[in-house]
């Protein structure tokens, strides 16, 4: 459905995106993950025909984004980052304007309006002006304009950023619902979001693809290690780091000195080895008190941090 091949985008002398290739199958939801400035938005802008790639090619349903730009635009619904809307317009006026530009007329328009009001839950705000709306409703209006022409493909740039937890879940459910019949690409920097909604994950860092696959595949890619979270009292940070340095099976991931003086450590341990006894003995000898020690499986978050650090 979407075929990105060897795409590079250069701004001046900086490569925002470097030789990126991936495909999105029909009906698939692709989660686009990466730290800020990694090239997520740039990639989306190229898919939505905002600007052409410097080199490489992108086709959408067989149409080239440069040569058949207008055709591609008709197939795509796009929600840019930070949901730009015309503040001074009413919600209905705004949706009518989008329908005008997209040449949706007559009974098709009536049905389309009814459908987006229904799907995006806009009934109670349809007579309001956009500047009166809460962030959550603004996001729904943004989604409504993106699906008003019933596009095959949805491109959503950070659709849940800035929303409160309830709104996030609502929008996430909406994306999942829309994903049942449409191909969706959405970007985020929240891991759970990708795990909760997408079929496949693409992690991008510094303009390059760092990982690409299902969430399970990505987690498996860093198998061979388990994770151990500990909280210690009366432990000195540098002494702790030094002592752990002598244990070859342990790789220190992160140590934080909490406000109350407790040490919170996150360790990666080679799998098949249980280090908890040694750590216990170490703590006794140093007179540290172990308040917590919990092994856990790797999450997508770990994959992300490992790949993009």
């Amino acid at each position: 459905m979407i075929d990105v091949r060897g795409v590079t985008k250069t701004y001046g002398t900086v490569d925002a995106v470097k030789d990126v290739s991936f495909t999105v199958e029909q009906g698939e939801i692709l989660g686009f993950l990466g730290p800020n400035g990694a090239g997520k938005t740039t990639t989306m802008k190229m898919i939505t025909c905002y600007m052409p790639p410097t080199s490489g090619s992108i086709t959408v349903d067989g149409l080239d984004v440069v040569a058949d730009s207008m055709g591609v635009r008709q197939k795509i619904g796009y929600l840019p980052e930070s949901t730009p809307l015309y503040e001074e317009m009413g919600v209905r006026d705004y949706l009518n304007f989008i329908a005008d530009v997209r040449k949706i007329k007559g009974s098709t328009r009536t049905q389309a309006m009814e459908r987006v009001i229904q799907v995006c839950g806009l009934r109670q705000v349809i007579h309001k002006d956009i500047h009166e709306l809460s962030k959550g409703f603004r996001q729904r209006v943004g989604l409504a304009q993106a699906i008003i022409h019933d596009p095959e493909i949805l491109v959503l740039d950070e659709p849940t950023t800035g929303l409160d937890p309830n709104q996030i879940i609502e929008i996430r459910n909406l994306i999942r619902e829309l994903g049942e019949s449409k191909t969706v690409i959405f970007s985020t920097h929240i891991m759970q979001e990708v795990q909760a909604t997408s079929d496949r994950v693409l992690i991008i860092d510094q303009g390059k693809i760092a990982a690409y696959g299902t969430a399970e595949e990505l987690k498996a890619s860093i198998a061979g290690q388990t994770h151990l979270d500990m909280v210690l009292r009366h432990a000195d940070k540098s002494e702790f780091i030094e002592s752990l340095g002598t244990m070859s099976a342990i790789h220190l991931d992160d140590v934080i000195l909490q406000k109350n003086g407790d040490l919170q450590a996150s360790l990666n341990v080679e799998s098949g080895v249980d280090m908890r006894e040694q750590l216990f003995d170490l703590a006794i000898s140093k007179k540290w008190k172990i308040l917590e020690s919990s092994p856990s499986a790797f999450t997508l978050e770990d994959v992300f941090r490992k790949l993009t650090n």
């Binding site: 796009y78 930070s82 809307l85 005008d100």
Partner: protein, 239 residues
């Protein structure tokens, strides 16, 4: 065409949903009529001649400040609020966006022109007004405003800041308006500047002369300005 009209309707709604349209239309009419009837060495009531040329002489100057105020928001505001990104990824060409927006400013200007009709109509009751000259003057004034607005739109498409768009608009229009005064004498450069200046072509309309060269001048100015605007919009593709 549907797309152009869609943009046009949206812009008209924005102008009339806010006080912008009211403020620019009324400011122009109040200032111009005041200058015409009551200001300067030869106010209308003192010179006692049924001639409305003053409306267009003063109007051309007032419009220099009013036209960029109408067009400054057109693209700059869309850039500032990032709505442009959504607009240019819909199935509409950059030129269609520019045309739709330009059309809305022309209609605002037509309303201003209709407002100035009060002067010739009332004067025609008290004196003998040359209808031919009035009509050619109105054609000239419309073309002048249309050119100003197109230049203002071009200024707006280079920046995301409306104040910069406004000032750039005034300055660019002033350059073309005053160009004939920039070079003295009868050399080639002086002639070129004169022929490029708005004022040179504008003046003929008040003598009741409709010269194709003048019409062509204004129409090409408008086309060049609209082309520049559209190119500025498309420049995102070549960065």
């Amino acid at each position: 065409m549907t797309e152009i009209l869609a943009i046009y309707r949206k812009e008209m709604k924005t102008y009339f949903n806010s006080p912008i349209a009211f403020i620019v239309i009324s400011s122009f009419l109040v200032i111009t009529n005041w200058l015409f009837f009551d200001y300067g060495d030869y106010p209308f009531f003192a010179i006692n001649i049924a001639d409305i040329r003053g409306i267009f002489d003063y109007g051309a100057i007032v419009l220099l400040f009013i036209a960029p105020a109408i067009s400054m928001r057109l693209i700059a505001e869309e850039k500032h609020k990032d709505t442009l990104e959504l607009l240019v990824t819909m199935p509409i060409t950059d030129m269609q966006i520019i045309m739709g927006k330009y059309l809305s400013t022309l209609v605002i200007f037509a309303i201003i022109l209709a407002g100035t009709l009060v002067a010739p109509i009332s004067i025609s009751f008290v004196g003998d007004l040359d209808t031919g000259i009035v009509i050619s003057s109105y054609i000239g004034f419309f073309l002048l405003g249309a050119t100003y607005l197109a230049i203002g739109l071009a200024a707006s498409s280079f920046t995301r800041n409306q104040i910069i768009a406004y000032i750039m608009g005034i300055v660019s229009i002033a350059v073309f308006f005053l160009m004939n005064g920039m070079a003295n004498g009868s050399g080639m450069i002086a002639t070129l500047f004169e022929h490029l200046s708005v004022r040179f072509h504008y003046q003929n309309f008040f003598r009741g002369v409709l010269d194709t060269r003048d019409l062509l001048y204004f129409i090409s100015m408008i086309f060049v300005a609209l082309f520049v605007s559209s190119t500025a919009l498309s420049s995102r593709k070549y960065r």
